[in-house]
């Protein structure tokens, strides 16, 4: 048996997100973005440091937290032989929601996201990635969570779907005051949606601030250049693993 090799995905990250704030995490593949989101969403346990989400310390408060938070990953898992309607109703049952109310809410969200109602009963496997991602967002919002964790919610989407999702998130924040933590490769998206942005590289948060503050700090005209100056790295466009 060979030696045990260690790979540190997160090397001492500290940050906070205020209620009602949208915080964008930017970083190349392997920077630790998804690991961070997975810890916050109780799918992984940390090996050091402290995490408090919506007043719950993790991992002790994970059961309570799961009922209050929505999460969307870059490649959402569904029962692909079932329809969006069936998938959402199943999730609603797991949350203990009343089926009729849950269905009404799910359909409302899907319509707001631009999904045509005639597709609600098609198999998910027949749908584009853009549509599937919209269904994943609707599922995360079934419980109207005060916190939404979004791991690259628009990666791989066509421009129209990307705009639909971004507009929906802006509207959601304005309407409900939802706190949003999102990771993205898309500088324009981070700048459009985020109050503050953190640059993550090699498991460390190397800079954070508003888009304007980061550009000023780096002496760069745009966020992409600021990222390169402050992290010494370029963002690539491939989907994260």
């Amino acid at each position: 048996m060979g030696p045990l090799k260690e790979e540190w995905a997160l090397k001492g990250v500290s940050f906070y997100v205020q209620e009602g704030e949208t915080y964008g995490l930017l970083g190349p593949n392997g920077s630790g973005k998804s690991t961070l989101i997975r810890i916050l969403s109780t799918l992984l346990t940390a090996d050091g440091g402290t995490v408090r989400v919506l007043g719950h310390t993790l991992p002790e408060g994970e059961r309570e937290l799961r009922r209050k938070m929505g999460r969307v990953s870059v490649d959402a898992a569904f029962y692909k032989k079932l329809s969006p309607r069936e998938n959402l109703l199943y999730a609603a049952q797991l949350y203990g929601l009343e089926p009729r109310q849950a269905e009404k809410r799910a359909m409302q969200i899907l319509e707001q996201l631009g999904l045509e109602s005639r597709r609600f009963n098609d198999h998910i496997e027949e749908m584009s990635r853009g549509m599937q991602q919209k269904i994943a967002i609707a599922r995360a919002l079934l419980i109207n969570p005060p916190l939404l964790l979004l791991d690259e919610p628009t990666t791989g989407l066509d421009p129209k779907s990307r705009r639909d999702v971004q507009a929906f998130l802006e509207d959601l924040r304005a309407r409900e005051g939802t706190t949003i933590l999102l990771t993205t490769h898309d500088m324009a998206e981070a700048e459009r949606l985020s109050h503050r942005i953190g640059f993550l590289a090699h498991g460390r948060l190397v800079a954070e601030g508003t888009a304007e503050e980061l550009k000023r700090q780096a002496g760069s005209p745009n966020l992409e250049e600021a990222f390169i100056v402050l992290t010494g790295e370029e963002l690539d466009e491939e989907a994260a693993i």
């Binding site: 048996m1 060979g2 030696p3 045990l4 090799k5 260690e6 790979e7 540190w8 995905a9 997160l10 090397k11 001492g12 990250v13 500290s14 940050f15 906070y16 997100v17 205020q18 209620e19 009602g20 704030e21 949208t22 915080y23 630790g32 690991t35 961070l36 810890i39 916050l40 799918l43 992984l44 346990t45 940390a46 090996d47 050091g48 440091g49 402290t50 995490v51 408090r52 989400v53 919506l54 005060p146 916190l147 005051g177 706190t179 933590l181 985020s194 109050h195 498991g203 508003t210 888009a211 304007e212």
Partner: protein
């Protein structure tokens, strides 16, 4: 630029000195409960 309303000062997420390590042996992830990648 987006600006938060001054009344919104409570914290939804507080993370301090967060660390996570993944372990591999012979090219395979050494898994324990919720410790995998």
């Amino acid at each position: 630029m987006l600006v938060l309303k001054p009344t919104q000062t409570r914290l939804a997420i507080e993370v301090s000195d967060l660390k996570k390590v993944f372990r591999k042996r012979d090219g395979l992830w050494a898994l324990s409960r919720k410790s995998g990648p």
